[in-house]
């Protein structure tokens, strides 16, 4: 009873201090708001309008039609025109363009012999006589750009002659569930919940205990009957509410601005988010008991934040990482949350479907709280 009263006292004090700290208070709202708009619009893995150059050595009607057909795919945009391949290579080096299309002088003959066109009689299959019609020189250092241009390799040539493409029967039929339009933002928004919560929750709490120590309040606090666990709980509970406010901002804006649906039940969403917030907060508390000043706490927050962004599956698929990186990712609460929240928001998964991740987050929270309480001593030595 007295314990509860002391926890409430600390919560009330934290909230008053937070209300007075305009900057932090503003950040609670501004971080999710700005970051969501920024990432929602900026991060896009469907690459469009890559600036490219053309070296047209054929300079024929056919070459112009070829360029128009390529431009019509919207993957690339011809921004430069050079006379020689050397100039085009120089333009790639100085990053004026990311790739260059070299159209050879004998374009017409190559097209005529190309098996896809079927003008050659008989169609030639011989390496000697059937060659690609033109060449792409690509800055391959960015694999996403390279992959987009590689996608042009098998562009149907029939369109060059305004003929309907042969109805090729694909080897596989692909049915895209949950994001049929392949919009990146659908995957980004729920992931962003995890990233922003990792950032703000760990940052706020990691500073919480350290700040009391830095400002000298700790010497007063440890002289009172307050117990370590009460202090820890009183410190994190206000931020649980803040976490939920941030989640509402992100998912609400995601719904209104980016039309990202929340398919799953709100109860499941609240449960898994609550678990993640608790896990992040308890990690922040552990940092708080390790760091001796706010700068150190901030450094440790970044130490956790970077892998949470890069390894959690937010940016790159978890499955694509080497095994060692996957093991590291498994330790991070963000990885488990990323998996679970995408499940709930996009695929209507229930908490039971996500029980492994949920239990892991729960375990992490308990471990963190116990560790922080054990590390926190009511003594100065």
């Amino acid at each position: 009873m007295n314990g509860l009263r002391r926890i409430l006292a600390i919560i009330a004090k934290e909230l008053t201090q937070l209300r007075r700290d305009r900057m932090t208070f503003g950040m609670v709202v501004m971080i999710p708001l700005i970051q969501l708009l920024l990432f929602g619009f900026a991060i896009n893995t469907n690459i469009r309008h890559i600036p490219v150059a053309v070296v047209d050595q054929s300079n024929s009607g056919l070459s112009r039609v070829l360029m128009q057909t390529i431009a019509a795919t919207q993957v690339v945009e011809f921004t430069e025109r050079y006379a020689t391949p050397q100039e085009a290579e120089a333009a790639i080096v100085d990053a004026t363009v990311r790739a260059a299309l070299i159209i050879p002088a004998d374009l017409s003959e190559r097209v005529a012999r190309h098996p896809a066109v079927g003008l050659g009689s008989p169609p030639s299959t011989d390496q000697e006589t059937s060659r690609p019609v033109a060449q792409w020189v690509v800055d391959g250092s960015d694999t996403m750009i390279a992959a987009a241009i590689k996608g042009l390799r098998a562009m149907p040539l029939q369109e060059l002659f305004r003929q309907p493409a042969n109805r090729n029967v694909p080897t596989f039929e692909v049915a895209l569930y949950f994001n049929p339009e392949q919009r990146t933002v659908v995957n980004i928004v729920p992931g962003l919940v995890g990233i922003i919560l990792t950032m703000t929750m760990i940052m706020f709490t990691s500073a919480a205990i350290v700040r009391e120590r830095e400002r000298g309040n700790m010497e007063m606090l440890i002289n009172t009957p307050v117990r370590p666990m009460e202090l820890m709980l009183g410190k994190i509970i206000p931020y649980v509410f803040i976490g939920f406010v941030q989640v509402s901002i992100i998912l609400g804006l995601g719904y209104w601005v980016f039309q990202v649906p929340v398919v799953g039940g709100l109860g499941h969403l609240a449960a898994i988010t609550g678990l993640f917030i608790a896990a992040s907060l308890s990690l922040g508390l552990v940092i708080s008991t390790l760091a001796s000043n706010q700068l150190q706490a901030m450094q440790m927050t970044v130490f956790v934040l970077m892998p949470s962004i890069l390894l959690s599956g937010f940016m790159f698929p978890y499955e694509g990482m080497p095994e060692l990186a996957q093991h590291i990712a498994e330790v991070l609460p963000a990885t488990h949350f990323m998996r679970a929240v995408r499940g709930v928001v996009l695929r209507d998964a229930s908490l039971a479907d996500m029980s492994d991740d949920a239990f892991w987050l729960l375990g992490f929270t308990v471990l963190g709280l116990v560790l922080a309480s054990l590390r926190f001593k009511k003594r100065l030595d």
Binding site: I10, A12, Q17, N223, T224, P225, L380
Partner: protein, 310 residues
């Protein structure tokens, strides 16, 4: 309650090689004001922290209000108040909010807390400042707030670590009046200071230097038994005279006070006044006068270092 509020034997605290406090024996009687007098770095704060259970002694035995430390530190916390050297309340909270927070931490009921806070605000003249943030208050106001917070739960033992270091003389006088009021109501107070005039107000005091207790007892007794007598003399060229006198083994210390030289003479010298007058170095002296010793003289004799002379 026992006769002694604090009893410590051979209390020692080492930080690595350095002994911040070594073999401190202490007996603080209940219901009195006990002073720790010593320069910065003499171990006052370390000693207080050990007595409040904030630091674990490296050696020795401590019993505070009948509870032995550090085992029973948690039980002790409800019965003691501690005013830290540095202001340790929340600067971004108002006076009222700070006191309310402390009241809640000590589990005072809502009505009880309200009454107690009102009472403290009027005792310490903080009513007009109730809505002001602690960070924007003066040193004296903060000190009164800190004392109010430390006494909110009516502790029977109060530790004050250099409470008046950031306060002007008038505020210091008022502050001591409040301490005597608390003491009258039965609170035992342990206060550390490096001001001589403050130390003189204590019922008993201990002189600490380099982590060791050099002397303890009531100030009058300390002054009476300090083992030296004080003579003030007037003479031309006091700087030179001081250097000459300090060379003599009988002279404990010599300190210039304006146009006078305050000389502490070892009490093995029977008649210090005549002895000084007979010295060839002091033949120019125009007046020689035996004066009452001050606590500063006690301090200088105890610590063996005539700080102002060197």
């Amino acid at each position: 309650m026992t006769q002694w509020a604090i009893e410590a034997t051979a209390l020692t605290r080492r930080f690595g090689e350095l002994a911040a406090v070594s073999s401190l024996d202490l007996q603080v009687p209940s219901g009195s004001i006990y002073g720790f007098l010593g320069p910065n770095g003499s171990g006052k704060t370390t000693a207080i922290r050990m007595l409040t259970g904030l630091l674990k002694p490296s050696d020795g035995h401590v019993s505070v209000l009948g509870l032995s430390l550090p085992q029973e530190a948690e039980a002790l916390k409800r019965q003691i108040g501690y005013m830290t050297q540095r202001f340790s309340l929340y600067e971004d909270l108002t006076v009222w909010e700070n006191l309310q927070f402390v009241a809640r931490i000590y589990s005072l009921g809502f009505r009880e807390a309200r009454k107690r806070i009102q009472q403290l605000l009027s005792t310490y003249g903080l009513e007009a400042l109730a809505r002001q943030r602690a960070g924007s208050m003066s040193g004296g106001q903060r000190q009164r707030l800190a004392l109010a917070a430390a006494t909110l739960h009516n502790p029977s033992l109060l530790f004050l670590d250099e409470p008046t270091s950031a306060v002007d003389p008038q505020n210091r006088r008022d502050f001591w009046e409040q301490l005597f009021d608390l003491c009258d109501r039965g609170t035992t107070i342990l206060v550390s200071t490096h001001y001589m005039d403050e130390a003189e107000r204590c019922h008993r005091l201990a002189i600490l230097d380099s982590g060791q207790k050099r002397a303890d007892g009531p100030p009058e007794v300390l002054m009476a038994t300090m083992g030296a007598r004080v003579v003030e003399l007037e003479a031309p060229d006091l700087r030179q005279l001081k250097q000459d006198l300090l060379g003599l083994p009988e002279v404990v210390s010599a300190a210039q006070l304006g146009a006078r030289l305050r000389v502490l003479v070892d009490d093995r010298v029977e008649r210090p006044q005549q002895w000084l007058a007979g010295l060839p170095q002091a033949r120019m002296a125009t007046s020689l006068e035996a004066v009452r010793p001050s606590l500063e003289d006690v301090f200088v004799t105890c610590t063996g270092a005539a700080r102002e002379g060197q």
